[in-house]
Symmetry: D2
Subunit: 378 residues, 4 copies
């Protein structure tokens, strides 16, 4: 059994998700010729690092991410730090020839994202951004239907990314209150990624944005700081292939927990998805007979792409952790089997470019073109 | 334009529904060679009768139903009295050769229902019971699919008839508190009719029943009486064609308003319906490809049977009043065009026979055979 | 009983809806001191007019709408002509002192809408636009909750108006293919009206639009014409009170029949509505305890505003025709009881102003201010 | 860190679920003073055992379950064999003083279940049956509401356990085709357990049952055998506390994948649940104001019982594997912290007694009393 020895930088909630994914991967995907080995976990203090080691099943613990990325016994780095540190850690890992999984967003500016992407490509490492939602079997089934032409030519796209966590005024000030961490920077990447996956290149955007809770208190000393970022954002988008679309992102949408989804209207049908019912894809096939046509609720299970790894029955429980396992499955297959990674840094860069244009569009109140780096846009 | 002159006996809520249906019928179904004319309305007092005449658009008002059924200027009688009077009024109308629409239940005993049915047949009049729910376009679409074999051979049937009106302790004592007016007698007829329409003859039943609010006060003098009937009833049923089924009837099901529907499982598919979403039929076609099969939500509109009369768009509003119009459409077509009536007294009798057996089954706590009159069972 | 004698100009599908509403109004709303009398119906040919007279229960038929608006035996005019004729007919009716119900849109330009509105105000007639969807009991319940503060201060608004009728390439060229008859002019008025009702004045818009089926054949001679209008439109909107919003209008959204609704997010809750489930309002009250909070599905019935007129049970069938009855109820009460009309020409003008700005925004690809006439904006 | 060293007997799909649960438990529930250690896995052949060892992360592999239950380095046994072997393995484990987790059903006869339960009690071991569905946070929230009186006194109960796996004629003959493995024996235990958890002791049942696919071929040699068990079963139930209920179990319900749930109607409200939307509990509180009352959809997350261990956001993915982790959490807490086990062998026995009575009721076509062992019924 070949081993892919990873160092995980950061062990918060995302660390839990990745550790679960690593532990479960061979249980789900079997037989296999390789496994991911939890070699090293890095946290801010020795106590946190040791706790994470035991809890998440790593062999070693450390506090210095730089030594981790230089460690010759490590094959790959999983970057789970706050977003503003992503680029620095990634560049160091690239310099050491490590393969990389970086949580979204790839970086907090398009320029950084481009630098990271281009460096990774030059170095020839395997790279992946944690845009796992598109890997859910129900979403992959949507892509399969789309590619088969089952909804015909796409006419329009509506994306939404709604939650209500930030209506809670007691939520402390954090990196999510700072530039790059708002509804656009932190929440929208998956939504933009869905739009890229289902329709393609976004060329122009216009936007509104707003901040509802304008100040938050520090969790440490209760001092109050002004929130730098938007709580909600609306976009109109134009796609290179001619479609129009909208994107609504909000973390102040009362009652919405994970309304993360899309609605795609084509000439022959429609696809609707929403993470609150993550194992359901709604599909309308206009070619069904007129008296019995209707949106179908497809229940994701072993018959949908990726679902074959989990349970023999549909709707048995394929959620966040399972999509992280599917993400790491692609990562390992890229390293050992020369398979493609759907959500490489290229996708992370594309997302960053849209966010940058959307930010400009909101600031200037005008349509803005999305700048595409040649290679990335290819 | 030929006219079918009707006398309507009773002008409560059902009178409103029938009057609307009569007024709307030519607006919906056009062109037509005949119309129903609101000739005479009968209520308990001259004041009530005159008010109903003006409100519901009748030509004349009266208080004596016997004179109405003898009136030579009347072609048909619509019986909307309390159920225990149905048989008497119907027999008088039959004796005078009038065509009859009788609200459900046809009678409060199977014996009376049989007498009324047989008298009507002998007299050769057109007769109809107000089992209008099966005429909803979404339900008719279900029947169409079933008859086409779109769900394959039927395996099992689940019916439900749930509302919560009787959880209200202040609801006064009425005929609905008396024998024949409970969950079985008053609520279940439509549910039993659905089972008849979708599967066929019920041969045996076993039942439980319960009364939750055991006393109610008179609306007139506040004296309290013991409720004679069940608030909720559960049935297991066996059908002549071998299927098993269940029926749950309750008027004390909190939160349920008009959960009146069915679930039919066949070898190749399934049909699910519920009046709370009355313009939706859920249909599963197991022959769809395994990766894209799922319950379809068919939205009832002009493409479903009967829906062509209403609006050019689905889901525009086809509710109780519209199914009453469809019921009267069948009645008029039977009188003038020799068309069949789906819900003739024969269906009312079949319902009464099941109710009688179910009552015995609840009383004796044992399986009971449903007694079928030869002709009715044909 | 006082009578409001109406002339109805146009007797297509909308004529059916209005005739039903008139016939049903006293049946639903009783007691009453006034009724609407179907005095005169006007159609293009004597044959059509006479057919409409019989079918819809009018006393007289005619072909010349000018004589109808001058007819001293007529108290009010119901204008159901194609939109481009609305202004001319309305101005003539105003000149003759008739009260007016005009189907939406009030006019095909903001200038015409303003002229009609101001003329009507000057003449002192009662005027109403057929923006009936906001009168549905479930929608009115939403407004009641909003006004009570049950969702707190409004943060954002999402409107949608989706149908798929125009995906049918065989649908003939009509006024709906011409300027003023597209997704913006014909479909969006109700959606814009919802936004006005729930949030208020829209001050700026930006838009995209697209035409999917670019040519349609004449139903008469099969000659092909270029479709002048958009099949789908997306708007970002800013409200005078600071909120942002979106509006998606499409008549090429496969599988959508009447997805006409809204989603309103407030500081304490949310409201969601959609005409496909027209008797359901979804309401989230963030003040419910955290372990048992959730979107409630309120089933519209006698407990919701306007619902008291229909049936004693929720979800019994309150659709398009019933909201038209509620609209005429307001009209009659304005004429005879000095009650307000929620959807007066002022609302029709507001809608026209937004449509005009949205059209400019789509044409110029830039944010456009909505021009508000002083009085209308009040 | 204390260790609970387990031997897992059987490593099919259930082995995957338990292995995942063991691996994830400390990741989810932290801090902890104990962990479960995957010490030994037993399969039929050395090859299967070794494969399971690697795949599921066990230290050792073996083929003889008798030596496993005698192994002094083992603290607890997880029994995942076919049901007919449960009793034998359990009795041997009890004889060796091991704690036991036994997958449902506890045994294939009530007598065996009683023997196993009483032996376990006498031996003083910790024992648990794998009735994990009731541990889902949404279900536990339902129990919490019920116990608080949030739905008032319970009036009626409806359970369902529907799937369509056995409509597939090519599904081979297996222990699920043999006595104890049908809709009653294999599918109904969770459904009966729900009824026990939410209402209490079932005292009498009546039943129908049917077999749809009457013969199946061996997967080994294609010889055909007659299916001994029912594919679908319907029950009427009476509870000791006076309620009536129904239970519908089917593995031939087209379109149903995991429609495993309940509907509970009380004097003040209702609870509805279904595993197909496993993170949603529908709750109706009749005490809400009449104009805004409605079924709430509670999205299960950190605010519902048990959900605090998983993710900080609701609806993130809490499925089958996670309820198995919650089950093992109870097991470990019982061993090390003297906490109660909700689904001890007592519950397994209660289920077996109902199944036995239901089988008799179907065979005799009459109401049958459920025999309760004194201790178990306590």
């Amino acid at each position: 059994m070949i081993k892919l020895r990873v160092a995980m930088i950061g062990a918060g909630v995302m660390g839990k998700a990745y550790s679960l994914a690593i532990a479960s991967l061979p249980m789900y995907v079997w037989p296999t010729t390789w496994v991911i080995e939890r070699e090293l976990v890095v946290e801010l203090t020795p106590e946190l690092a040791e706790e994470a080691r035991v809890r998440y099943g790593f062999a070693r613990a450390a506090t210095d991410w730089r030594r981790a990325v230089e460690d010759p016994s490590i094959d790959a780095i999983i970057i789970l730090t706050p977003p503003r540190e992503h680029a620095e850690v990634a560049l160091a890992a690239i310099a050491n020839g490590k393969h990389i999984v970086c949580e979204k967003p790839l970086a907090t500016s398009a320029a950084d994202a481009r630098l990271v992407y281009e460096s990774a490509e030059t170095a020839g490492i395997v790279h992946q951004v944690g845009l796992n939602f598109r890997l859910a079997p129900a979403v992959q089934m949507g892509l399969k239907l789309l590619r088969e032409g089952a909804v015909g030519e796409v006419i329009s796209y509506r994306g939404s990314w709604l939650t209500d966590q930030y209506l809670d005024e007691s939520l402390p000030y954090s990196w999510r209150s700072e530039r790059g961490g708002g509804a656009l920077g932190d929440d929208a990447p998956h939504a933009i990624d869905f739009a890229h996956a289902f329709v393609g290149e976004i060329t122009e955007v216009v936007a509104t944005s707003g901040t509802v809770i304008t100040e938050r208190a520090s969790a440490v000393d209760q001092t109050t700081s002004v929130v730098e970022v938007e709580d909600e954002v609306n976009l109109l988008m134009k796609f290179a292939t001619g479609q129009n679309g909208t994107l609504e992102g909000s973390r102040v949408a009362a009652g919405r927990k994970v309304t993360w989804g899309f609605e795609i209207n084509g000439m022959n049908g429609s696809l609707v998805y929403d993470w609150e019912r993550k194992e359901e894809l709604r599909y309308y096939d206009a070619r069904d007979a007129p008296d019995r046509v209707g949106f179908r609720t497809i229940l994701a299970g072993p018959s949908q792409p990726g679902g074959e790894h989990f349970w023999p029955v549909a709707c048995f429980g394929t959620g966040y952790a399972e999509t992280k396992a599917l993400q790491l499955l692609q990562f390992g297959r890229a390293v050992f089997e020369d398979q493609p990674v759907d959500t490489s840094f290229s996708e992370g860069l594309r997302v960053a470019e849209v966010i940058e244009a959307a930010t400009r569009a909101a600031d200037t109140q005008s349509w803005q073109r999305v700048a595409h780096a040649g290679a990335a846009a290819a």
